[in-house]
C-alpha cells in the first residue's frame, strides 16, 4: 500500500481488507487545521478477488458510494459513480468522483489538462517471475533489504532508471515500492501467491512528453510480471488510451474490451482489458 502527500493533494492506495474510505473524515479534519478545504475527490478500484472478505464500507460499490457521499461536504455536489464493465466479468472498473462548481475550477488549475494517470492491474502472473517476490527462508533479511533485492532481481529498477525507489518486502511474500522522479510518482504492489497472483503498476505522465515514454514504461512494467490478464485505466482530459494499446499488443496481449466515460473534475476515464492471445 502507498501514500503520496503533495501540497494540494493526497493519494492513498491500499490493498487487503483495509478500510480506506475511513480516512476521508480525518483527512478533511487535519487539512482544515492547516487552512485547506476539500475541492475534489476521486475513488477508484477494480473488482475484488475476495469480495466477501471486505469489511464495511467496502462490502459493495453501492455501500462505498453511500459512505463517501455521507462523508463529503455538501458543496461537492458534482458527483458521479459508475461501474465500467469489461468482457471479463470479474474485471470491472469502479469510479466515483466529486467536485463543486467553484472548486472544480481550482481543481482543474491543480490538475493541468495534459496530465494523465495510468492504473494497471495484472493477474495470473508468470509463476517463475512471481517467485521473485517471496522471501527466501533463512535469509534473515528485513523488509527493507529484502525489498531492495526484489527491486533489483525483478528488473523493477530499470522501469525508470532516473527514479528514486523506496521499496519493502513483506513476510513471507509480497512487495510494495514507490518511485519518485521530480514531481512524478510511480508505484508497484505485488501479491505473488499462485492461484490469485496479482500485481499493480501506477504512474503519471504528460501528453506533451514523447509519445514513446509511456509506451516504454508500460512495456517494461508488464514484462516484469508477464501476466495473462491486464486491465488498464487511464484518466486524462485528452486521449492516451492508444498509447496503452501500442505498449501491450507487441507483448502478445490482445485488447478484449474498451469503455470510456466522462467524470466531472476528473476528465475522461478509459478502461481497457487485455489477455494473452492464447486465452
Amino acid at each position: 500500500s502507498s501514500l503520496f502527500v503533495y501540497p494540494n493533494k493526497i493519494i492513498i492506495k491500499t490493498c487487503g481488507t483495509t478500510q480506506l474510505l475511513k480516512s476521508i473524515r480525518p483527512l478533511i479534519h487535519h487539512a482544515a487545521n492547516l487552512g485547506l478545504t476539500l475541492s475534489g475527490c476521486r475513488y477508484t478500484r477494480g473488482s475484488f478477488i475476495f469480495p466477501s472478505s471486505q469489511p464495511f464500507p467496502h462490502t459493495s460499490f453501492k455501500e462505498e458510494v453511500i459512505y463517501i457521499e455521507d462523508n463529503l461536504p455538501a458543496n461537492l455536489c458534482y458527483r458521479k459513480a459508475s461501474v465500467m464493465p469489461s468482457k471479463l466479468p470479474s474485471h470491472s472498473w469502479h469510479v466515483f468522483t466529486a467536485s463543486d462548481h467553484q472548486n472544480a475550477t481550482r481543481f482543474y488549475t491543480h490538475v493541468p489538462d495534459d496530465l494523465y494517470t495510468v492504473e494497471v492491474c495484472m493477474t495470473e502472473l508468470d509463476p517463475v517471475l512471481a517467485r521473485k517476490f517471496f522471501q527466501r527462508q533463512g535469509d534473515e533479511k528485513n523488509g527493507d533489504t529484502a525489498g531492495k533485492d526484489m527491486t533489483q532481481i525483478s528488473g523493477i529498477d530499470s522501469i525508470n532508471p532516473g527514479a528514486i525507489i523506496c521499496d519493502f518486502a513483506f513476510d513471507p511474500c509480497g512487495y510494495s515500492m514507490n518511485g519518485i522522479d521530480g514531481d512524478r510518482y510511480s508505484t508497484i504492489h505485488v501479491t505473488p501467491e499462485d492461484g490469485y497472483s496479482y500485481a499493480s503498476f501506477e504512474c503519471v505522465g504528460s501528453v506533451y512528453e514523447d509519445r514513446d515514454d509511456i509506451t516504454k514504461v508500460l512495456k517494461k512494467a508488464v514484462q516484469v510480471f508477464r501476466p495473462a490478464t491486464v486491465s488498464v485505466s487511464t484518466t486524462c482530459r485528452r486521449e492516451v488510451w492508444g498509447r496503452v494499446a501500442r505498449a501491450l499488443e507487441p507483448l502478445g496481449l490482445k485488447c478484449r474490451s474498451r469503455v470510456v466515460d466522462e467524470f466531472p473534475a476528473a476528465g475522461s476515464v478509459t478502461f481497457q482489458t487485455f489477455t494473452t492471445r492464447r486465452k
Binding site: 500500500s1 502507498s2 503520496f4 502527500v5 503533495y6 501540497p7 494540494n8 493533494k9 493526497i10 493519494i11 492513498i12 492506495k13 491500499t14 490493498c15 481488507t17 483495509t18 478500510q19 480506506l20 474510505l21 475511513k22 480516512s23 476521508i24 480525518p26 483527512l27 487535519h30 487539512a31 492547516l34 487552512g35 485547506l36 478545504t37 476539500l38 475534489g40 475527490c41 475513488y43 478500484r45 473488482s47 475484488f48 478477488i49 471486505q54 491543480h110 490538475v111 492491474c121 523488509g143 525489498g147 523506496c166 521499496d167 513483506f170 513471507p172 509480497g174 514507490n178 519518485i180 521530480g182 514531481d183 510518482y185 504492489h189 501479491t191 501467491e193 490469485y196 496479482y198 499493480s200
Partner: protein, 66 residues
Amino acid sequence: MAASGFEGFEKRLELHFFGDDPVAGVDDMGLRLLDFESLEQILHAVQCTVVSAVGNQFFDAYVLSE
C-alpha cells in the same frame, strides 16, 4: 484470502484541496505540513502503518503495511 492476507486489487483515493489563504499554504507546503502523528491517526483509521518513506522537494511518498 491469500496466505499473506492480501486481497490484490487495491482501493485508491485521491483528494484535492485548496488553501483558504491563496497567498500561502497550498502553493508552499500545504498538506506536507501534516505532522507524522496526524498521518498515523489517519492511517490508523485505514488499518495501515508506515513501513518506509522517501521524499523530495515536490512530495512525500510512504510505503504502507498491508
